[in-house]
């Protein structure tokens, strides 16, 4: 066996990475461009895993809903930066983890800092509303909103909150003077 020091270090990292994934019960992780094909592949993969594990139809439907909206959020809203900035351009990280009581769907993508305020106020508004309030907000947005050029209806976050019945957990980490990494976790109870 060739003992390349760099390679050995890398393989150790991969093993640590694997153990970390197991410890956090991550069943799916992806970093890169989110396309429609990726969305279809991930939802179908997760769907067949849930069927195998005899998850209820209700839980399967909710996980499917949340995954689609999260993936489409990245594909429609992740900001594209300079092409050579391969770390951030129009891409994102997508994770699904499964715990005893719940599924967590987490996304992370780079956004322009000037969007932080708008996203924060929308998420805070959603988190402050009860079931009825969310329903009204959804109906109003559906009536008054317009589909954006990329086909976004501005309904994704509201829909996730309604389908899961849980607060949306989010965070921003600065990546440069003008951009931040936006993280969002949605939780779907397995005992619906």
């Amino acid at each position: 066996m060739t003992r390349d020091k760099n390679l050995t270090g890398f393989l150790e990292f991969v093993y640590e990475f694997y153990k970390t994934m197991k410890a956090h019960e991550i069943t799916l992780v992806y970093e890169g461009e989110i396309t429609h094909q990726i969305t279809k592949a991930f939802t179908s993969l997760t769907g067949s895993n849930m069927s195998k594990e005899m998850e209820s139809d209700n839980v399967q439907r909710k996980v499917f809903h949340v995954m689609v909206e999260c993936l489409q959020n990245i594909s429609k809203h992740a900001d594209t930066f300079a092409k050579n900035d391969f770390l951030y351009s129009g891409r994102g990280i997508f994770l699904v983890s499964k715990a005893k009581e719940e599924y967590n769907v987490t996304t992370g993508n780079v956004i322009d800092n000037n969007k932080i305020e708008e996203i924060t106020s929308l998420l805070e508004q959603i988190n402050s509303l009860n079931k009825e309030g969310l329903k009204e907000l959804y109906k109003n947005q559906m009536k008054e909103g317009r589909l954006s050029e990329k086909g976004g209806a501005g309904l994704g976050f509201i829909d996730i909150a309604r389908k899961t019945g849980k607060k949306l957990i989010y965070d921003f980490h600065p990546v440069s003077e003008t951009a931040s990494f936006f993280l969002l976790t949605s939780t779907i109870s397995r005992t619906l």
């Binding site: 279809k40 439907r61 809903h65 909206e69 109906k139 909103g145």
Partner: protein, 124 residues
Amino acid sequence: MEPIKIKGTDDTPEIMLDAGNDVFEISGRSLPEDVTSFFEPVINWLDEYAENPKPKTEFVFKLTYFNTASSKVLLDILMKLEDISSSGKEVIVKWHYPEDDEDMKEAGEEYADIVDVEFDQLSY
């Protein structure tokens, strides 16, 4: 009017619009890659149909899943039906939902609240 017949796929619904045979139906799953262009022929067809609708239009929705972008377009379709209804023609929306799917049932109730059209909720 030329009927529209679009076969369903795993991300686009089946669509049957055939005024001659009184068939108006959208069914299956809806998360098209480009919602606007997928539904454009449907909206155009309805615009044309609205100019000379039949005395009675029974429009069937039998969806198992739709994403939020599709929900907006479904409202646009329902608003066209509302226009036909308010012009004095009879319009009935038949909203089918899987019997264990509360969210799909509720989605139908919400549309019924928003648009002024007769709505029948049917579980299957």
